[in-house]
Symmetry: C2
Subunit: 151 residues, 2 copies
Amino acid sequence: MKNKQATEIFRNFLKAGKNRITPERFEVMDAALEYEGHFGADDLYIVMKNSKSSVSRATVYKTLELLAHCDLISKRYFGDNINRYESSFKKQVHDHLICVDCGRIIEFSDPEIKKLPQLISDKLGFNFESYSFNIFARCKDPKECKFYREE
Amino acid sequence: MKNKQATEIFRNFLKAGKNRITPERFEVMDAALEYEGHFGADDLYIVMKNSKSSVSRATVYKTLELLAHCDLISKRYFGDNINRYESSFKKQVHDHLICVDCGRIIEFSDPEIKKLPQLISDKLGFNFESYSFNIFARCKDPKECKFYREE
DNA sequence: ATTGCTGCAAAACGTTTGCACCTAT
DNA sequence: ATAGGTGCAAACGTTTTGCAGCAAT
């Protein structure tokens, strides 16, 4: 229970959906919000395991879905068959550019894009829920790209 | 070799990349361009198998990647752990709205979105390659949504 | 007391790989 | 001749599931 405000949000979300308040879920929440950058469910499981947590892999997977549903974390997909997450608590909404050569991920934020999903959903007769926007591109400087890949 | 124009495009792409021109690759190309709507690699493999093709699963997977690289098909991801493809030959570029309740997929096209990926890539110092834009939303009319789910 | 949650291991799933044979160049 | 592609089955890595016991309500 390292983050009081997030704990409150998660707790209320769980209550509202008639999900139980368990210590394991808050353990996963803390670890997820602490993780720097993007992580797969298994990455987080390993980190927790290494810090002596006894939360199971299944619980990690399930809890991450819950956290994504209450917008404490965001679910991402960069095209490599792994679902990734990242904390979105107190972080500004952003999208991603992925270098298809070196895999580097650049975060950016565009006011134009932010408002479009809501508008389009309305126009098509849907209630907007979330969106994903990824750009795949190549570093202009191949040296820089190679450098990044090697580290 | 059902589609002369696409065959030509694919053949040139293969030559340019020093990939060999094989009958299997064109079998996959034909099947992929004929497929109505979005399909997983395995879906296509089953269809081909059922029409007595002897192309292997591995070849289907590999060839779909090649077809995506020369833009004859587009690779999609709708958040359910399956990579999907759809023909993009002679089809206008479009994006997708997915109903998170019933799974229905609506295709739409927005001029604003089309031009942004290129612009943003330039601004960030990358060479634009491709992009993906998905909106997740809910049918406004739950009945309509339910109806769709049940069929 | 009743559900729902957990941990564990096994299974499931889509996808990739290793290998021997084959074929386009 | 040789590099590259194919088919097959087995392996892979991520994710989900079944189940018995446990814990939040």
